[in-house]
């Protein structure tokens, strides 16, 4: 008995360590792939790789006899292999043979093969890791409550550890660090009689991991990422690189980079050269300084409009980044600037080592920094401003929809409404976008502000002005109607700078085309229709080939424009080859989903060959475990989405929410060990979960909105109270179900475990699809529906 207990403890410790390393490895991979490709793309590669969990379930089902006989001997080996594969897979994926470029997937077929090879490479560590976990679960299914507890708690800790480690290690070093934890997991459970022989293996693995740590792979960044294009310029180099959970920040020194969006063609002088900052290889902004360069060109930009109209005292810069907008405010003699920037690592650099390169703006007494997400600041603040500015929307030349799946809470109708209420009476919101073609960004911004203004009972036509040069439009949205004098000033500014008004109270058609003509004049007619009335606007939404309906908090995807029904029309106009480049992210989301479902179906069906097609439990197990996998993952995604906005810090809030959920569920699982595995018990627990979910769907958004102004400790306690009890109960149905199944038919246990894993993976991608097409509320409703299915199937059994 004592030996049994000791074995269970060792097994649990090993399982927890392995779970730590697998979750941490997943987060590290997302970080690495975000650097070499793009964040959401990284997410999809991982989703496919996570099929390794389902594949492990299938593998155990097919070879259960052999594997279960040799489990004790196999486990240390499997964990050592997992450890090695974690390190090796990253190195191999960065070699030219396998390194793919998502931009070239639709232009060069060889990159499609490289992508598939990358999927396979990353699938392996997950497969071997999951095989270890699965074998432990299946072999000791009677102790599943305790083991699942170790698994959940380990996963929870892994998330937090990985985030912490990102401050200390560069992403390319982390695979070896994480792999060491997997190695320890194996060491804990080496049977005594195997220890002498195994020491050589361990020594060799340690040597290999040390090698991979010291000579970590150089990351093969896409040649289409901003940083790669900048580094192509002669004499350009990275002068500072810091790692953080917000990503890797690089400061690049270059003799050639000049950044002057919205510049007037009339500007006679020089545009100064700037160093620039990048985050995971994506453009963050230039480091501009009036001390070393002449910044006269800034006065010749469309972005100046809020300052041209009147004197400004209090300015709010949302998403201040490298401080360009802060500098513009200070150059216009603003007395108080509040700069809101969530990226702590960037702020540390710009107020520390690189302070001089940005005029020390972040250290000036007139500038206050708020290290929080812009949206959270808006919701919690009651201050009033003369000007609120936002970062420029999109990128020059477009991004090919790489960011279509990015949640942008700063660009929703609700956010614009909050900005309006944070303005003084004569206050103005300044927002600039590149003119894209076919027109999308300017139309969606116009529509969003029209809706936000109407919600405040204002007539949009009296409150919106917009001016354009040849490639940008700057919008100025005023809390109160524009005055005659202000309209006159805008016209004069346009005439002086060769800009054209696009929206202005009392505008006539000719003045829109005085200096910068558009061959396709539908931009004006569409804008006029959007501003005319809600009915006209709705008509435009449904008839326009792109989705220009404003983003809302429930569907915060501002950059998602593609409509499926327009694809044939796009192909006809722009050619088949061009279509994917309208929105690579959106197309890839669906491709990934199809791919995952295809492989998941194979992995679910395959074990039936062995365990039999018929049998009373097959249907029950399929519905029950797929319901649990889907429901749990949907709720996790919803909680991440809701609470990151609540806390204003994506990285920490996500890590904390996920860890809190997993650990609470772990304790639920531990308690379930003491419960009888009967349908009645399961029905009671799931009923509680479903009722709680229905209540949360209704009250959670308003509850969080009301309490967002509370102090951080109060918010943390409140969050724990909301999440922990529900997650505690959510940790019970899975181990109870597995135990119940093992009592009926043991051979189905690995299959059921695999189903749960596969549906967890499918759900991650499916949740994004549901959120984009229907909204986050529906993800919550589907979560409740998934748990209800698991409930119903038990009622039937009962």
């Amino acid at each position: 008995m004592k030996n049994d207990n000791a074995h269970l403890v060792r097994l649990s410790v090993s399982l927890a360590l392995l779970s730590v390393s697998i979750i941490a490895f997943q987060l590290v991979l997302i970080q690495i792939l975000s650097i070499v490709q793009w964040y959401h793309f990284a997410y999809m590669v991982i989703s496919v790789a996570m099929l390794g969990f389902g594949a492990a379930g299938t593998f155990i089902s097919l070879f259960s006899k052999y594997l279960l006989n040799k489990t004790d001997k196999l486990l240390p080996w499997l964990m050592v292999i997992t450890s090695l594969l974690m390190s090796v897979s990253v190195t191999i994926s960065q070699t030219s043979l396998f390194s793919f470029d998502s931009y070239l997937l639709f232009a060069d077929i060889s990159h499609l093969w490289k992508l598939i090879a990358t999927y396979m490479i990353f699938l392996l560590p997950f497969f071997f890791g999951a095989l270890s976990i699965g074998l432990i679960f299946v072999k000791h299914v009677e102790k599943i409550g305790s083991l699942y507890f170790a698994n959940m708690v380990g996963s929870g800790i892994g998330g937090v550890l990985a985030v912490g480690a990102m401050w200390w290690f560069f992403p390319e070093k982390l695979p070896a660090v994480v792999a060491t934890i997997a190695l320890f997991a194996g060491l804990v459970i080496i049977p005594k009689h195997l220890r002498p022989g195994f020491s050589i293996i361990v020594a060799a693995t340690v040597a290999a991991l040390s090698f991979f740590y010291i000579s970590s792979p150089s990351l093969n960044v896409s040649e289409y990422k901003s940083i790669s294009k900048t580094l192509n310029l002669p004499g350009t180099k990275i002068i500072k690189r810091v790692s953080s959970p917000y990503g890797t920040i690089e400061i690049v020194s270059t003799p050639y980079l000049r950044y002057a969006p919205g510049l007037s063609i009339k500007y006679p002088g020089m545009v100064s050269v700037n160093n620039a900052a990048f985050n995971n290889g994506d453009w963050l902004g230039p480091l501009i300084s009036s001390e070393s360069d002449s910044l006269k060109y800034i006065a010749y930009s469309t972005e100046m409009i809020p300052y041209v109209i009147g004197k400004r005292t209090d300015v709010l810069v949302l998403g201040s980044g490298t401080g360009r907008q802060v500098n513009i405010a200070l150059l216009n003699n603003t007395e108080n600037v509040i700069a809101v920037e969530p990226n702590k690592a960037l702020l540390n650099l710009l107020s520390g080592d690189f302070s001089n390169e940005v005029d020390s703006i972040y250290n000036k007494p007139s500038v206050q920094i708020r290290n929080i997400s812009a949206r959270t600041f808006l919701q919690a603040s009651h201050a009033k401003f003369d000007v609120i500015t936002l970062p420029i929307i999109g990128a020059f030349g477009g991004t090919s929809g790489m960011f279509a799946l990015q949640e942008q809470y700063l660009l929703t109708t609700e956010a614009f409404g909050e900005m309006l209420s944070n303005l003084k009476d004569d206050g103005i919101i300044g927002i600039t976008t590149w003119i894209d073609y076919p027109y999308r960004n300017p139309l969606k911004i116009t529509a969003a502000f029209a809706e936000a203004l109407e919600q405040n009972n204002n007539n949009p036509i009296e409150h919106i002005a917009a001016i354009k040069n040849w490639n940008t439009i700057t919008f100025a949205i005023k809390r109160t109607p524009f005055k005659e004098e202000e309209i006159k000033v805008i016209r004069e500014f346009c005439n002086k700078m060769n800009f054209d008004p696009v929206i202005l109270p009392g505008i006539n058609a000719d003045e829109r085309e005085k200096f910068n003509k558009l061959q396709d004049k539908s931009l004006y007619t569409m804008i006029d229709k959007i501003l005319a009335s809600p009915e006209e606007r709705e008509k435009v939404y449904s008839e326009y080939p792109f989705n220009i309906k404003p983003a809302v908090d429930n569907k915060p995807y501002f950059s998602q424009f593609l409509k499926w029904k327009s694809i044939s029309q796009l192909a006809e106009f722009f050619g088949n080859q061009s279509v994917p480049f309208f929105e690579v992210g959106y197309i890839l989301l669906y491709l990934t989903f199809i791919l995952i479902v295809f492989f998941a179906l194979i992995l679910i069906i395959l074990p039936l060959v062995k365990i039999g097609w018929k049998g009373g439990n097959n249907f029950w197990a399929l519905i029950y475990f797929s319901g649990l996998g889907t429901g749990y993952m949907f709720i996790e995604i919803i909680f991440i989405q809701r609470f990151t906005l609540y806390f204003g810090n994506l990285i920490y809030a996500a890590a904390a929410v996920v860890s809190l959920m997993l650990i609470s569920s772990g304790f639920g699982s531990l308690l379930s060990q003491k419960l009888q595995a009967k349908p009645n018990r399961i029905i009671g627990i799931i009923s509680f979960i479903v009722i709680a979910l229905i209540i949360y769907t209704v009250i959670l958004p308003s509850l969080l909105k009301t309490t967002i102004i509370f102090t951080l400790p109060v918010k943390i306690i409140f969050t724990a109270l909301l999440i922990a009890p529900l997650a505690f109960f959510m940790g019970m149905p899975f181990p109870l179900g597995l135990r119940m199944l093992s009592e009926r038919n043991e051979s189905q246990v690995p299959w059921a475990w695999g189903i749960n894993g596969l549906f967890s993976v499918i759900s991650v991608v499916l949740a994004t699809i549901i959120a984009i097409e229907l909204g986050f509320v529906w993800v919550m409703i589907f979560a409740a529906a998934a748990y209800s299915l698991a409930l119903l199937i038990n009622l039937k059994q009962n």
Binding site: Y103, L104, F106, A107, D108, S110, E223, Y224, K229, N232, L233, P234, Y256, R258, Y259, A260, P261, G262, L263, I265, K266, P268, G269, M270, V271, F396, G397, G398, T399, S400, W434, I435, D436, Y437, P438, N469, W470, N471, N498, F515, N516, K517, L518, Q519, D520, K521, S522, M526, E543, Y544, P545, Q569, E572, F573, F574, G575, Q577, S578, F581, F582
Partner: protein, 201 residues
């Protein structure tokens, strides 16, 4: 290629069509993409750059109304294909490429193919090429989110400048800048069949 991809889409500037016929595009694409050299689309040439779709090259060439005695400046040599097409029509082509590797390969390629009226320089295109200014036309194929003031100065009175705008594999618009004394106007042109996209509804 010329008939189907270019003439059929409405480009009828004869010197442009002749030039597109004369320049061997396959000599300007990477060896691994040789079989797609005459396809109706852009192709990657490395360094995040592309060789533009044949139709776009023709469109840009026609848009500046090239004449035999023209002196044209190109910013962003890339593969050298656009410069080669221009050199078939105008008397002098000056082309600037900032990326050294692209400059080396393009200048060697152009020399090898006998384009003697193309002069290449490895430099920052922002400053234009003062020694040979003013130019009858300027083509800015390197991505530029603003128009460098020196280029405006180096454009002849009555001259035209053209800038493609779009992501590497999706050129949506071309900006035509016309200078008449102090008056400078821009026009956003649509190479897509000259038909506004929304009119297709």
């Amino acid at each position: 290629m010329v008939g189907r991809q270019i003439e059929n889409r409405g480009i009828n500037n004869q010197p442009t069509l002749d030039a597109m016929l004369a320049v061997p595009r396959h000599k300007f694409v990477p060896p691994n993409l040789l079989e797609r050299a005459y396809n109706d689309g852009p192709l990657p040439i490395g360094f995040g750059q592309t060789i533009s779709q044949p139709y776009i090259v023709a469109y840009m060439t026609a848009a500046i109304d090239p004449e035999k005695e023209f002196k044209v400046l190109e910013i962003g040599t890339g593969s050298g294909y656009q410069a080669a097409v221009l050199s078939e029509i105008v008397s002098d082509v000056y082309t600037i490429e900032i990326i050294t590797e692209l400059y080396n390969s393009a200048s060697e390629r152009l020399r090898g193919l006998g384009y003697k009226n193309v002069i290449c320089k490895n430099a920052d295109g922002y400053y234009g090429w003062k020694d040979f200014a003013p130019f009858d036309a300027i083509i800015v194929t390197a991505a530029s989110e603003y128009i460098p003031p020196p280029l405006i100065k180096q454009l002849k009175d009555g001259g035209k400048m053209i800038i493609p705008v779009g992501s590497p594999f999706l050129n949506q618009t071309l900006i035509l800048i016309e200078k008449e004394g102090e008056d400078i106007t821009t026009t956003s042109l649509l190479p897509v069949r000259f038909v506004p996209f929304t009119r297709g509804n």
